[in-house]
Symmetry: C2
Subunit: 396 residues, 2 copies
């Protein structure tokens, strides 16, 4: 575990036209230039990739899921083997979530009380009880650099009172998380408040008063329209302290990363780039392409001309098309390499443009050529993935 | 395509106690020190690995399957994209088989005549007709360095007359393959003859008279006892010319590689090391271990102490156990890296010991500690794999 002085956050430059900012996040295991995208390593692996590849792609920080690791292989086992860094062979900055989101999205038969959440494992139906204290204890055993408060993450709802009560519970849990913390990890609070701007401002104000080392915005990207996501972020960010990192959870499509960065977000995590890669959806400057489509059958060029990823440097789109048609294991890996490199390179470029004072024109230029997935398709995919129990292709 | 002078084979040293020999096989795309193991890249990919990884593992030559590539993505498509080397991104020596073995083991509804074989695709049931001439034409379009004659590969049988007739047909087909060859690839003949020593000697004698650039022994490792395999190899090898490479098809377990090398075999290919890896069977000096076994749950050390593979250098057996339990894509890859490295390193060591004159003691010492899979388990696995239609885990 690092010393207190090893955690810091320094804003280097702000965009004159948007709220975008370039900063440096320092952790005991290394430095993360922000804005940054955090690849998701749900079960102690970013699906199909080695830690070496993640480094080569430009990943500076990786996320592990406490809920999944608690169920399999068990937190005590990982602790006994020297912690999550050593277990998964990733020696750079590491973040774990608290399990809050997974308990409310993946697990079954939940009973929520102020004490905590009773749930059943999505793997074997076994019963478990998570509390804020346990979530911190588990994350301390895993030993990531950054850990998250345990929050209630209810589904998208227009019931103000219900969301208010849930948000207040998240606040009480945040305080209990702080009190139970014993290790020197950076603990981030999670702003909730559903789609109610008033509750979001209240949540951000309250959590700021608790002085966390960073602030996440949770409960978004759950199926609401993107316009709503953006408005909520716009309401929340100005309330948060300027000298602390801001983390928008669950966001990872190229267009959404731009929207988040321009609203002052420093950190993002999402399984989207890796998940759609395994389903054959590949990012290009023009938007997502579907590699299984017949047009790629004999496409001699790379997925994207000029892309510096290993896949595009070495293989034709036709080869990738063939691997997907044959369901070859290499398909998922080459696609994942491409999409992660696309997103990580994009974040690097955004940061450079913020520093150069040209972020705004860079954003406009990117979004002018990038054709996002249409809203209906996006929501249908999201619904399908959230309902799917296939961990190999849907989660992480 | 290379010039005639680019194919050569030079024996450097022979073992004084066995028939083992160290040689150098030169192809237009590079040099293969032998004895060598050839990883199987059935569908233009050694499952889960990149060409870079194959090189780093020490692979000097890779095999592609004409039958599979003919059905998917189609040979003309690969030819149009510059041939198999370029398509799969492997720029070293490459060998293709003729499709003979697959037509007789994987495809359905076969009708064999002297003309060729009518069969149905194992993928979609579509009807196809392979002839010796077509097998050569397809392999010329793929453009590998070494290509194989089209042979009849009937199941293990004790009907002498049937096997004799089939062997004679293989001989006629071998002549037709030679006649139809137009490119400067090294064409290898395939000795057949079932489990009949007399037929094997006859087949080796006849094919030798045709002066191929190399000689394979086919129709073995199909479920017969290992003692029989070894006896057939012992009958065959002395008949083959000393100055040409000898290739034992379908053999790849550590103990079998020793038996083959000590009987004068130079080249081996088998999907076994990669296939059992994907099923969680990992080679060690003591024999195969089953990584899913509970004993590995919290095993802090590598799969094998002292192993120089990427997996053992970076991850605990407990981590690999976890990945397999979670069916994570990285599991299949890390296991494949380990098993291929094990076999490729073993071949390299055998060669060095042949050169140093210590092969025989090296073999004895290895086999004294290596506990092979027992014969019943081995045959049951083989049966299961041959009957399985799951290309992701069973073939290649």
């Amino acid at each position: 575990m690092g010393k207190a002085g090893e955690h810091s956050f320094e804003v280097l430059k702000s965009c004159p036209h948007t709220w975008a900012r370039a900063a440096t996040l320092t952790t005991p295991h290394g430095v993360v230039p922000t804005p940054a995208f955090i690849p998701v390593g749900t079960q102690a692996t970013v699906k199909s990739l080695t830690p070496d590849e993640l480094s080569a792609l430009g990943a500076k920080i990786v996320l592990g899921n406490t809920y999944h690791l608690y169920l399999r292989p068990g937190i005590a086992l990982i602790e006994g083997l020297g912690g999550l860094h050593r277990f998964m062979g990733w020696h750079g900055p590491l973040i774990t979530d608290s399990g809050g989101y997974q308990v409310f999205s993946l697990a079954r038969l939940r009973q929520v009380s102020d004490d905590g959440v009773l749930f059943r494992s999505h793997i074997d139906g076994s019963e478990h009880f998570f509390t804020p204290e346990l979530a911190i204890q588990l994350q301390e055993a895993l030993g990531a650099d950054i850990i998250m408060a345990f929050d209630e993450c209810p589904p998208y709802s227009d019931d103000f009172d219900a969301v208010r009560q849930s948000t207040e519970r998240t606040h009480r849990w945040a305080q209990r998380c702080q009190k139970s913390q014993q290790q020197n990890q950076a603990l981030y609070g999670i702003v909730q408040g559903g789609m109610f701007k008033e509750l979001r401002r209240h949540s951000a104000t309250f959590l700021t008063s608790l002085d966390f080392q960073g602030y996440a915005i949770g409960g978004l990207s759950l199926g609401e329209p993107k316009k709503v996501t953006n408005e909520i972020v716009e309401e929340t960010v100005p309330v948060l302290p300027e000298d602390k990192p801001r983390y928008l959870m669950g966001v990872g499509s190229p267009e959404d990363l731009f929207e988040g960065v321009s609203r002052g977000i420093d950190l993002f995590d999402s399984a989207l780039p890796t998940r759609i890669a395994r389903n054959g959806g590949l990012f290009t400057q023009e938007g997502r392409c579907i590699i299984r489509n017949a047009c790629f059958r004999d496409w001699d060029g790379p997925i994207e001309e000029g892309c510096d990823c290993y896949t595009c440097q070495n293989f034709s789109a036709a080869y990738l098309h063939h691997l997907f048609k044959c369901e070859e294991l290499l398909a998922y890996r080459l696609a994942t390499l491409h999409n992660l490199r696309f997103v990580l390179r994009l974040m690097h470029e955004m940061r450079q443009h913020i520093i150069d004072g040209t972020f705004s024109t860079f954003k406009d230029s990117f979004l002018a050529s990038y054709q996002p997935c249409d809203e209906d398709t996006r929501l249908a995919q999201k619904q399908k993935w959230m309902e799917s129990g296939d961990t190999k292709f849907s989660q992480g």
